[in-house]
């Protein structure tokens, strides 16, 4: 019996299937950007719960701090001032792991068991198995994982898998003062989002919608956006994210193909030898040279 306290759906660099008989509820975190005030309580709660403290940085001329995700900042608020047709909007988005149903990080990871996707949808990094290659970063369509300078391991949001495992909401969801972060089953979250979208449409946000990108099989962190038609307004939320075709090529069919090709060459050589025999120096030549020597 494995030690897992959550059922495993997939694990990195493992070709055999995980135990998959038990069916657990798929969970999701919904970030309602339209009620987010950018207070960073989620950042604080994340640091506190996960026992991580980032560096005390400097002001970069913006409200964003820390300025980007790091191995010690698993979530950051991204602030965008958007002014269109004389109307100013301060769009604030909590950035962090999206917990994709089809996780690019897991696909790219070469270390068995370093990245686990639980049956409830959480994609978790297990640093003790991480070799620090950074392939997860290469694989991620959202540019989320970060390698620590201290231990060269990759870190990112775990969706507080330790809390979820005992039935609690992630620290960021629990703490969120305005309720902009909600947590529950994915189905509940979609229903909740639908209600929020109706409300937003009634306030003139005709393009309000849910961000649950199909390109990565849907995510377990979703957004309600007032401008769902233009996610890029929210400090570069990808419009239609998917695992890069390059990564799919690399960690997809290149893997078996190249292995087959290499094996084919190896086996081909073997059979060539067996069938054609060695290429030896001809006896005539040797004799000829011996004769010369004898002269």
């Amino acid at each position: 019996m494995a030690l897992q306290s959550l059922d495993i759906a997939r694990r990195s660099a493992t070709t055999t299937p995980a135990p998959g008989v038990r069916q657990t509820t798929e969970v999701a975190k919904l970030i309602d950007v339209s009620t987010c005030i950018g207070c960073k309580a989620c950042q604080a709660a994340c640091m506190e719960w996960n026992d991580i403290r980032d560096e005390v940085g400097i002001n970069h001329g913006v409200y964003d701090n820390p300025i980007d995700l790091t191995a010690k900042s698993w979530t950051v608020m991204r602030f965008a001032e958007v002014e269109e047709k004389g109307k100013l909007e301060w769009l604030i988005r909590k950035d962090g792991c999206m917990h994709c149903a089809d996780p690019g990080c897991l696909k790219a990871c070469p270390a068995p068991g370093a990245i686990i996707q639980y049956a409830n949808g959480i994609v978790d990094f297990h640093q003790e198995n991480c070799i620090g290659c950074g392939y997860c970063i290469t694989g991620c369509p959202f540019n989320i994982p970060r390698i620590s300078q201290e231990d060269s391991k990759a870190y990112k949001c775990s969706l507080c898998s330790d809390r979820v495992a005992v039935g609690q909401a992630p620290a960021c969801a629990k703490v969120c003062p305005t309720g902009a972060i909600q947590f529950g089953s994915k189905e509940q979250m979609k229903d909740y989002a639908a209600k929020r979208i109706v409300d937003l449409k009634s306030r003139g946000y005709d393009k309000a919608g849910l961000y649950d990108p199909a390109g990565v099989g849907g995510t377990h962190v979703m957004y309600v956006l007032h401008h769902a038609d233009r996610p890029e307004l929210y400090k570069g939320l990808p419009n239609d994210p998917s695992i890069s075709p390059l990564v799919s090529l690399w960690k997809g069919f290149a893997k078996p193909l190249a292995t087959v090709a290499m094996a084919a060459v190896a086996l081909g050589s073997l059979f060539h030898y067996v069938m054609k025999g060695p290429n030896e120096v001809s006896k005539e030549l040797e004799d000829e040279l011996e004769k010369e020597d004898a002269k």
Binding site: A13, T14, T15, A108, P110, A111, P112, N129, I131, G132, C133, G134, Y135, I137, T138, C140, N143, I147, S152, S244, L246, V247, L249, W250, A254, K255, A258, T259, A261, M262, V265, A266, S269, H272, Y273, K276, G277, P278, N279, E280, V281, S282, L285, E286, E288, L289, D293
Partner: protein
């Protein structure tokens, strides 16, 4: 110790050492690289002390190989200039493979296949080096799209390279009497006369 004083010197000690440095590096790189490439090979990391050590050592060995290869490149560059005879040889490589080398054109120190291999490896080495640097997160940080391209290039070129090295090694084994050239540095006159007649004539004056 020279086995037979009449044997021909094909490689100097420096050349042989150079070759084997590159060769050993390559084997280590292939083993560790394959470990990251496909989960089936991941246990190969145990040869290096585990996944983390494999990840740390791979780029360092890569640097060593690259340095070794650059030296080797300049050593052998001139000898690998393609000539019309080489093209003819390459055209008729099928006969050669078939074990029938009687009608092959006369070859210098290197035959067309070897020369082609030399240039192909040089290109591959360059690609591996550049893409390897891109992937080396401990010291470099490139835009993620570049890294992704780098990863594909590194993996694809490495696979090609490994296949080529298989061919290279097999060729050496298949053509009897070749391996000793890289081990002792000498080949027999008969070997030289059969496989590299032009070179034989050049070194023996006959």
């Amino acid at each position: 110790m020279i086995r037979n004083p009449k044997d021909l010197q094909r490689y100097t000690a420096e050349e042989r050492a150079n070759h084997w440095i590159v060769g050993i590096c390559f084997i280590l790189l292939a083993l560790s690289g394959l470990a990251f490439f496909h989960p089936a090979f991941y246990p190969l990391t145990q040869l290096f002390g585990g996944g983390v050590w494999a990840r740390i050592l791979h780029p360092i060995i890569g640097w060593l190989m690259m340095i070794g290869f650059v030296v080797m490149y300049f050593r052998f560059k001139a000898l690998n200039r393609m000539e019309p005879a080489d093209r003819e040889w390459l055209d008729r490589v099928g006969e050669m493979m078939d074990g029938n080398d009687h009608n092959m054109p006369e070859q210098g120190k290197y035959n067309g296949g070897q020369k082609a291999m030399f240039w192909a490896m040089s290109v591959c080495m360059l690609l591996l080096f550049v893409s390897g640097i891109i992937l080396w997160r401990a010291y470099f940080s490139f835009p993620v799209d570049v890294v992704r391209l780098g990863a594909v290039v590194h993996a694809a070129v490495a696979a090609i390279m490994i296949a080529m090295i298989f061919v290279h090694v097999y060729a050496a084994l298949w053509v009897r009497g070749t391996v000793r050239a890289m081990v002792y540095g000498t080949v027999t006159r008969a070997w030289a006369k059969q496989h590299h007649r032009a070179w034989y004539r050049q070194v023996t004056g006959k």
